[in-house]
Symmetry: C2
Subunit: 460 residues, 2 copies
């Protein structure tokens, strides 16, 4: 899986080129010339073919070089495709990358279609929106998810998704901070930290990067780290309900976490992208914990609630009470990053977000979430019946299955080879995930049932 220095057909470059002949512009004539195919005259290139490829003198970013292999999910997609090549007739079922499969409720897509059509009218057209998101969307996110929690509309930044916001948060923090993550955890936290230069080299034996505190979360500690043994870091990434373990932290645990951050002067980046999957009394937002506004940021997403993985809409809450050590508000720097490095979420997606948060939209989202939670039960029942130790599931669309003493990638490969079902190897989420497999509940019902039949066949 190590990165290699070649790209398909890249090794021997030739500088082919062509020149356009252009029609001239007439300001009275709306037909403007452009680089289309019609006016093109292909010329013979100045030959610069050579067996030795040209290299610039620009040094490769040493942080990029630290990254191991590809980002996890494209790597899984690659293995899935390789499997399909090997078994072209196999009915491959993907319970791997956590991608939603069920159609978006019509109350939501109709609103997006309506907004699309409106963009063709003078009254309905809109260009650049506020980088922070449209005011009604910010307001409705606040009202729906943070009512009574002291979060104000201007604390909420609408985005194209939590994953993208994680990097924007890392841009705010910069290189000179230390960070902690749950182990296992969603790989974007660690990888973006490496990219920003917050970490040391990857230590192969430990399967960890230097200068990251891996907070081990296991069945033995109820998937909540023993904070008395965790050294202080500047930033603490914490995802609940957790991806991949599917466990969600209790109010007592989150109160401990906030107190830990406050004692250490740390900033928690709390990922609540699965909060609506919580069935019990566990908090849906870190801001339910007293004092959290002074130590926490929360990032979340419509992806897993409304099937917006392709539509792209999320948000991040940076309370104005959160300050750097010099008293400068973190929200001001985040706002600067959002304005400079981003240009707002698509206005059509934002229309979808508004519809999601209407009474009908909320009801429809609850229906979708309920469907996936039924899938979760089916998967949990299956592995339970086979005698596995099964975790997660109750408050999240992920089932975390233990395969004691086995390598996650081996189990992943075994399941793929023998059942044509794609899962995710636990070790892809950090060394603490070794020996586990994450099974995603995102799938059509018949696929989930069929996958479970095959699991029963394999592990009976």
């Amino acid at each position: 899986m190590a990165a290699t220095h070649s790209l398909s057909s890249a090794a021997l470059s030739s500088s082919s080129s062509s020149f356009f002949s252009h029609s001239s512009f007439n300001a009275k004539n709306p037909k403007v010339s452009f680089p289309g195919t019609r006016f093109r005259v292909k010329c013979v290139a100045t030959s610069q073919d050579s067996m030795t490829a040209y290299k610039t003198s620009v040094p490769r970013n040493a942080n990029m070089a630290k990254l191991q292999a590809g980002y996890l999910f494209p790597e899984i997609a690659r293995r899935r495709n390789a499997h399909l090549q090997k078994y072209p007739d196999a009915k491959v079922i993907s319970l791997g990358i956590g991608d939603t499969t069920e159609p978006i409720p019509e109350v939501i897509t109709s609103a997006m279609a309506k907004r699309s059509h409106a963009l063709s009218t003078l009254e309905g057209y809109s260009g650049y929106g506020a980088e922070q998101g449209e005011k009604p969307v910010r307001a409705l996110i606040g009202k729906t998810f943070y009512s009574g929690l002291g979060i104000e509309e201007d604390d909420i930044f609408v985005s194209d998704g939590a994953k993208c916001d994680i990097t924007r948060l890392q841009l705010v923090f910069g290189s000179n901070v230390s960070m902690a993550v749950q182990d296992p955890s969603y790989p974007a936290y660690v990888d973006s930290s490496v990219i920003l230069g917050q970490t040391g080299q990857y230590e192969k034996d430990a399967e960890k990067y230097g200068n990251i505190e891996y907070m081990r979360c296991t069945p033995e500690n109820g998937f909540f780290p023993d904070l008395t043994k965790i050294p202080r870091t500047d930033i603490i990434f914490f995802c609940s309900p957790n991806n991949p373990t599917g466990s969600s932290a209790t109010r007592e645990q989150l109160t401990q976490l906030v107190q830990f951050a406050k004692k250490n002067g740390s900033i928690i980046v709390y990922d609540s992208a699965y909060a609506m999957y919580i069935s019990d009394d566990n908090p849906r937002s870190i801001f339910e914990i007293p004092g959290a506004k002074e130590v926490a940021i929360e990032t979340s997403s419509f992806s897993k609630y409304a099937g917006f993985t392709g539509v792209r809409l999320g948000w991040t809450v940076v309370p104005k009470e959160l300050m750097f050590s010099d008293g400068f508000p973190v929200a001001k720097d985040f706002n600067r990053i959002v304005c400079t490095c981003f240009n707002g979420a698509s206005n059509i997606a934002q229309a979808g977000g508004l519809a999601c948060l209407s009474p009908e939209g909320l009801e429809a989202m609850r229906g979708v979430i309920g469907f996936y939670k039924e899938n979760t039960s089916i998967i949990m029942d299956t592995f339970n019946s086979l005698g596995f130790n099964v975790y997660g599931g109750k408050n999240a669309p992920y089932v975390w299955v233990r395969f004691p003493g086995r390598s996650s990638w081996d189990v992943f490969a075994e399941i793929l080879e023998k059942t044509h079902v794609v899962t995710t190897p636990g070790s892809g989420f950090g060394p603490g995930g070794e020996g586990f497999i994450r099974v995603s509940a995102f799938g059509h019902r018949e696929n989930v049932l069929e996958a479970c039949r095959r699991f029963k066949q394999l592990y009976k």
Copy 2:
């Protein structure tokens, strides 16, 4: 304009909080509990009110602290709003931030509406797309803009806009590179460079950041820098047609630029977001220049072609021939950033992009561009008739007007105060813009005509 250490209502924080009472989950019942308002019980917060606000111990990122004031365009929006407060009845016309105003042609919005509706069907639903963009979109961008130039489909990365891609490119380059920009230029290049830590402090007297090479572009040098006097840098940002000067580089000039980069082993980041506005024989793409694939990246956008400033769709070309000094392909690192820090452009926006590049869509885009170019002519004629030296306009939607010996911000304020027209002060684009005003041609015809009447009144 210096940043201050306060946010509205931020100084005195109180940790209000509330606790939810949750309904319990039943896997057979699709009604899932969620953080809505219905189940909320507001509690009295643990009081942590204090006159001394809590601060974390996390140091503020020193690079963020280097940034001067706000990003240019939000700052202009702020001044526009302040003006509106002062003159609530004024008919303010915005020829400032370069935001498109004309409706999106229906052939394009229909395709987006259709895709939206399809997301509610089993067959039409799609979740996560490839982070690099949908294959047909990549292919059609290649065919439309790069046919015969040796750019392949997999060299093209579809994105949510060129501005966002600029930061992603900076993430690839990291902190240890030096960079050059045209002066004046679109401020995202410099600001993203500061954020990544490539620069020194801001030098107030010079109005420049340390460790950035400002390549002065003036009427005297035909808005193309004298490359014999420019020291080598790792990265060269180059925008043509240029924002803000509206000038576009000739084939000879771009050949010089590519040769300069090649001699120095530099990487050019070529911003061609206005290429379709070119009326004459000037190149639409840096890849028309022989050898450019080994030294250049190109970033572009549908924003100014199809009115997609709010829809968000762009692309970046990283040829596989482009290598770092160690021979590692730049495209591989860019791909890693795209996969780790981004999740693809909205699938609905991508459906719009496909429609833009259909024969009818291209014709429709040419119509929109032609309309804006007529606006440009009207603005140029106006300032010419008033005896100003006027630049740009021919190949771009921007008119660059000289006000010799005057401060750009003073002229901006004078025009706003006396005509209620918002322009952009040239110095906002770098010290080389001092003494100029950028007038954007994005506007409804009657507004452009009215603005020009007011200009004639003011400067007759």
